[in-house]
Symmetry: C3
Subunit: 320 residues, 3 copies
């Protein structure tokens, strides 16, 4: 695994939440909270990245995640360039590296990289100069560290003591980088209980997600949970005959008000978006009083601001 | 109809020019004139939107209108994000709202929305938080308020007294949001005469455009007019057999120097662009001394600056 | 040929390096060197273009050249708008001019134009207002002036005395705007020897590249050269049966360590990127100690900053 740290131990890249200490996570979350604003308030701003350049390398042009990173970087004063490029689709190896070297020669300070292929963010990280940082914005099914941080921040805004929480993650765990990153953060913070809830074909292999309990029934899986984290199911999955269709999936795993009533009365409901309403979640739940889904989005910008300024060696000392 | 105003009566959204008072229109036009610069002068700048975020939601990526809004927002100091998205093409209703809520959670202050489907800008407006404004950049065939304002501003720069003007709008009135918004503004300002000039298949139903006279002959329609406003005809329309082809259209409705001579000697010629030269307008007219087409473009940026700062509650008090 | 100069002789457009004086070239290169930073250093910044607008008109959305121009303009403080548009694909003549006039009416100060058709940058230049500058970012096979400048700058950073240098340009000279612009600059600066090295089908007609010697053998062409400038070969060319395939091309014209050993011991190797490794260049050379390919990219931003501030009449006097 690519080392995310500098020689002095400080974070230089953020490719995964695995291996981050409890102290590091708490410091990042605290800094993110510094950038949280209530709805209706003006977005927070700073100039800690003034004069620096952030390049968004996204394979898809207009995702909400790209906009979230773009706004985070701009609100810290950075210059931002957006590039649509699927690094991994290029001729393997050296040709991808040529692209990376080229971008680095443009004096890019932070690369924000999203790629459907495993290993691409780390490959970029291992080839850029020592002053350059790489921030993963989603890597295959493996890692989505800023999503994991924003999910954790959202939980901690509503539930104070992580070591007393039962968190149920429901849905397509097998393919979910969201689930993986959230589990890593929550386990490091000492969450009491992590439950994976999925039909067998969407459950990860036994070797993964150590320490989590597994449920094939959503009713049992979310019983008395403090947090119910729903995952998006790709409609493409239903092409696989072993997986129930949309209606059937909703019947068996959709989060309805009746099912949510099995969780703790003050349980919160999360979803990384975009939602398939009527497939994995009922609108009455998505829009209900226990939903914190919109908070997650707002926390996303705050988390990305915190991570960008933390990674950038040059931003250190500029903080307000 | 969605109310465009705040409880105190001030404009919060701009979805249509319908219902704006004469005083409101004049105030907006006066403010726009403040941002007009002569060709060759440096573009005007301000920082009334500094720290605010404007999101351009356009279905097509690179229209001149998108660039006009982008420059207007940047020149007021705002952060701008561009998103290509066809809000109305998504699964109807809640899924579109999820997108809107997501963007709002990113602390977007103004949404600039263009959509081919009626009702989309108003739907966005009715679901965003109280601090957020929505500015229509073109809605179906119904409304294009900043275009209506820039057309009016252009007329008033050349013709002082609206109540003594005859304005002829020529072409595809039926499908034209440009014609609808221009008529609303000009009628509110007390224009003397508004004439619609079109072949029967491109003439709107009788219930629409109250107070306008109608002409099927361009010669009679523009006779003694002070302003001749040509509309773009979509070449796709010619597929409809009832509509004359391009050559035939030009023969019957194209604005030639000979026809223009029927209008007042100092009549001005307008076109919202892009032009189909040789279809709705002769190049000798488009590039002739009576054409104010290029002024319209320049006025577009000024109008959009005026509207953006007027809608934004936060910009109030920052004005220079 | 469109005159690139103002009445007072100063550069207003940069469409070609042809006709620039030695003094003008040296002044541009010196200014570019002012903006060069070592890898790992923060990108240079200035505000000489603050309040001005640069429009990038590129037919392809995400080229590294577009990003290089975008960063150069932003680092000088300009507002930047990106437009994807193939000016030459529009209905010829007036319709393209309408687009240009429209953009100019938006108070664009500098147009950066890339187009696959000859004459488009000059056409834009001949129709914009006197305060507006046009900068070619690549025109057909004819001209790529900022590439020529960055190549020259790179050479001069490593080799001091142009009049004692032998420069070999190897590959698809026939279709290369890179080769044309580099030759113009180097000849004006009094380079000792310019050699064109290519198979006959990729060699330009006799009338072009006056003063250059021609070689069909790479071994003889690069013997004792101080600079070996490799060109990218478009894989599409191999469809032409007269041209060797990729493997065959590499066997006959690929730059290998063995071949490079024929040049001077301290010869530098250049490539405009993107490289076809294993076709025109061996990775051992591309990544070897004599390669200055990554310097070229970094010099590209510096050159574009120097050109942007030089062309803009308004930037004069603001320089730091």
């Amino acid at each position: 695994m690519t080392d995310q740290r500098r020689a002095n131990g400080s974070l230089r890249h953020l490719l995964t939440l695995e291996g981050l200490s409890r102290d590091e996570l708490e410091t990042l979350l605290e800094r993110a909270q510094h950038y949280v604003r209530r709805r209706g308030e003006v977005a927070p701003r700073s100039d800690v990245l003034a004069g620096l350049t952030v390049a968004n390398l996204f394979t898809e042009p207009s995702t909400r995640t790209r906009v979230s990173f773009e706004l985070a970087a701009k609100r810290l004063g950075a210059d931002v360039v957006n590039l649509e490029m699927q690094l991994s689709s290029r001729v393997k190896g050296e040709s991808m590296l040529d692209t990376i070297y080229t971008l680095e020669s443009l004096h890019v300070d932070v690369f924000v990289v999203r790629d459907a292929e495993a290993g691409v963010p780390a490959l970029v990280a291992s080839h850029v100069g020592p002053e350059v940082s790489v921030l993963s914005a989603g890597e295959a099914h493996l890692s989505h560290p800023t999503q994991g941080l924003l999910d954790t921040l959202t939980i901690l805004q509503h539930k104070r003591h992580c070591d007393q929480l039962s968190v149920a993650i429901v849905g397509d765990i097998l393919h979910s980088r969201v689930a993986r990153s959230a589990c890593q953060a929550l386990q490091t913070l000492g969450v009491k209980e992590l439950r994976l809830v999925a039909p067998p074909v969407l459950m990860p292999p036994a070797g993964e997600f150590a320490g989590c309990s597994r449920f094939e029934s959503i009713e049992r899986g979310i019983a008395d949970a403090d947090v119910v984290m729903m995952l998006r199911i790709q409609r493409e999955r239903f092409a696989d005959t072993a997986i129930p269709t949309g209606d059937e999936y909703f019947r068996r795993f959709g989060l309805t008000p009746a099912r949510l009533a099995l969780a703790k009365p003050n349980a919160i409901v999360m979803h990384p978006q975009p939602m398939n309403r009527g497939v994995e979640i009922d609108s009455a739940v998505a829009d209900g009083p226990q939903s914190v889904i919109r908070d997650q989005v707002a926390n996303g910008v705050a988390v990305r601001m915190a991570v960008l300024e933390t990674l950038s060696a040059r931003a250190v000392g500029r903080r307000s």
